[in-house]
Subunit: 341 residues, 2 copies
């Protein structure tokens, strides 16, 4: 990566305290259609970006395509959880355990690592009850349950499924490469927070991948069906994709079936607008999640405004969250810059 | 603030996953001596920045100068806590309560707002014991206890001490204005997280203020003594300035009595090197604390290297913290860029 490329990304979000700008966030945005035609480009959309968890719907394709999802009777909730970065709320952890139980396994099969629930209230409740977190509370436990179920259905030993050389990750890599059209190999890989490989891919290719996921263009009929089923499951059960108060859940709940969004760590979002046939990928350059939340809301508002002003207004409101004092009093605001239109 | 000024700040920190840059942080740095002569300037050091909690040592001057600290028998620990953004660990909350008890008051007098302890382990312990946080756990409770004790000692009603028009905040504003030489008025003010006014001041003026705090140059003898006493208290009791694992505590513990540092919210640090007579102020432009931690460590390493290579090496190591997976395995690193020297 060239330093010169980094510096071209514009300021997309301002953080105001009173009426003075306190902090700013830069970022890059790619919006393309399924033919790869750019609809909107801000900043450097050809620089490789680790999508992290934003591509979980693509990573879940083998779960459906292998027949595992049907064999284990997974419905929308299970498929949404397989695409999720969830809060570790009780319902999330319980559903991940139930998915593994269908394969005759339990949380001990997970290799994603343990952390306390992402939702603070869930952490407090667990601590107050004398509990400890397990791998089931890991925000990636649904995705990993999906990996494991794919293995057991295919008759592959699931142990070590997080390694790049395991059949599980070979299937994931094939899906990622074919959907985005970008190379996925040792040279652009690193290790994700949940210990599986992650690959740095240009935002343009990620956006193209999600335009294809929502339209099925360029896919085999089987893949097109699997992609639409996963996207539909997430839009039908947005709580299971993230959880209480989270941007993914709020944005998908604002327009049921019409907006797909998925956050990734370090300020990434991938998204799709099925009605418009568009795919979206963005990164807050400093990795700031608060900025990514504002960028995706402002961007979706801009894209849907010509066809749905009411939805655009609600999204615009979500793009201006308040900054509060410790007493909960609003003392400032976040806001998108003019670059986001 | 002009948009054009913001964009000049250089990339100061890179976040690597594997050997690929995943995220970057820009920032500005001012290092000056007590005459105001610049030693190092990176980015726009004339743009006003809210210093937030980084100026608590200046805000604590009235506590010492009024005679309240002596009247209530405050030693290094109490003065360090008055300058602190602490973790809300049991020792922090208990000392804040003890300070208020000297004035015949308790935590109910605090007007800073309640939040769970900043240290996750302290939050877990509180929840496991069936406890709830109070204003004493607020990271600013020591500063507010200092404000209240100053009022009671001066015979001023402490109620409403957080308001800009209260005698308490007038004393704070006079100290801030006189030490930094920058204006502090309605036009550059907003409300801090703990509900008191905060004023946007150029980094150059903040750095000058801390060069004066550590040298006493340009101060009355009384203020010079108060400033040195507060800085010495923080350096003698760095646990009470922040707490377990925090950058302030680790940096001041690395070179007892030779390094003063204080973080502020939204990526700010103010610091001083008494031996070199230098003041430092910096801001991570996106407000990222992880970047501010790297910038201050790298900057201190650069400044002390000519006179203490061993200390510089230890500080340089602190400027390269690992990025870890959920299993605790290192999968990347943060690092300062060449701009930090």
């Amino acid at each position: 990566m060239q330093h010169g490329e980094i510096v071209t990304d514009p300021v997309l979000v301002e953080v105001l305290r009173g009426d003075i700008v306190e902090s700013v966030h830069r970022g890059a945005v790619a919006v393309v259609d399924a033919a790869g035609t750019p609809v909107l480009s801000l900043g450097d959309v050809e620089r490789p970006v680790f999508p992290r968890s934003a591509v979980k719907a693509i990573q879940a394709l083998p779960l459906v395509e292998s027949g595992a999802a049907d064999a284990y009777g997974f419905g929308d909730k299970e498929l949404a959880l397989a695409c999720a970065s969830h809060n570790g709320e009780p319902a999330h952890a319980a559903l991940a355990a139930a998915m593994l139980a269908r394969a005759g396994l339990d949380g001990a099969a997970l290799e994603c690592g343990t952390h306390w629930p992402g939702q603070f209230e869930a952490t407090l409740a667990l601590a107050r009850n004398g509990g400890e977190p397990s791998d089931l509370h890991n925000n990636c436990s649904g995705k990993h349950a999906g990996f494991i179920c794919t293995c057991t259905h295919l008759g592959v030993d699931h142990r070590g499924y997080i390694a790049a050389g395991h059949r599980s990750q070979e299937l994931v890599r094939e899906a990622m490469q074919s959907v985005t059209g970008a190379r996925h190999d040792q040279a652009n890989s690193a290790i994700d927070g949940c210990s599986i490989p992650t690959y740095a891919v240009p935002l343009n290719d990620l956006a193209l991948g999600f335009a294809r996921m929502t339209t099925g263009e360029g896919f085999s009929p089987e893949r097109a069906r699997a992609a639409k089923r996963l996207m539909a499951a997430c839009m039908a059960e947005p709580f299971y994709v993230a959880g209480t108060g989270r941007a993914d859940t709020r944005l998908m709940s604002a327009a049921p079936g019409r907006v797909f969004v998925k956050i990734g760590a370090e300020g990434v979002f991938c998204a799709a607008l099925p009605e418009l046939g568009l795919g979206i990928a963005l990164k807050s350059l400093d990795g700031g999640e608060r900025a990514a939340d504002v960028i995706i809301a402002a961007l979706l508002a801009r894209l849907v405004r010509p066809t749905d002003g009411d939805l655009a207004d609600r999204l615009t409101e979500m793009a201006h969250p308040p900054v509060r004092s410790r007493k909960g009093v609003p003392v400032g605001t976040l806001r998108p810059t003019a670059a986001l239109g």
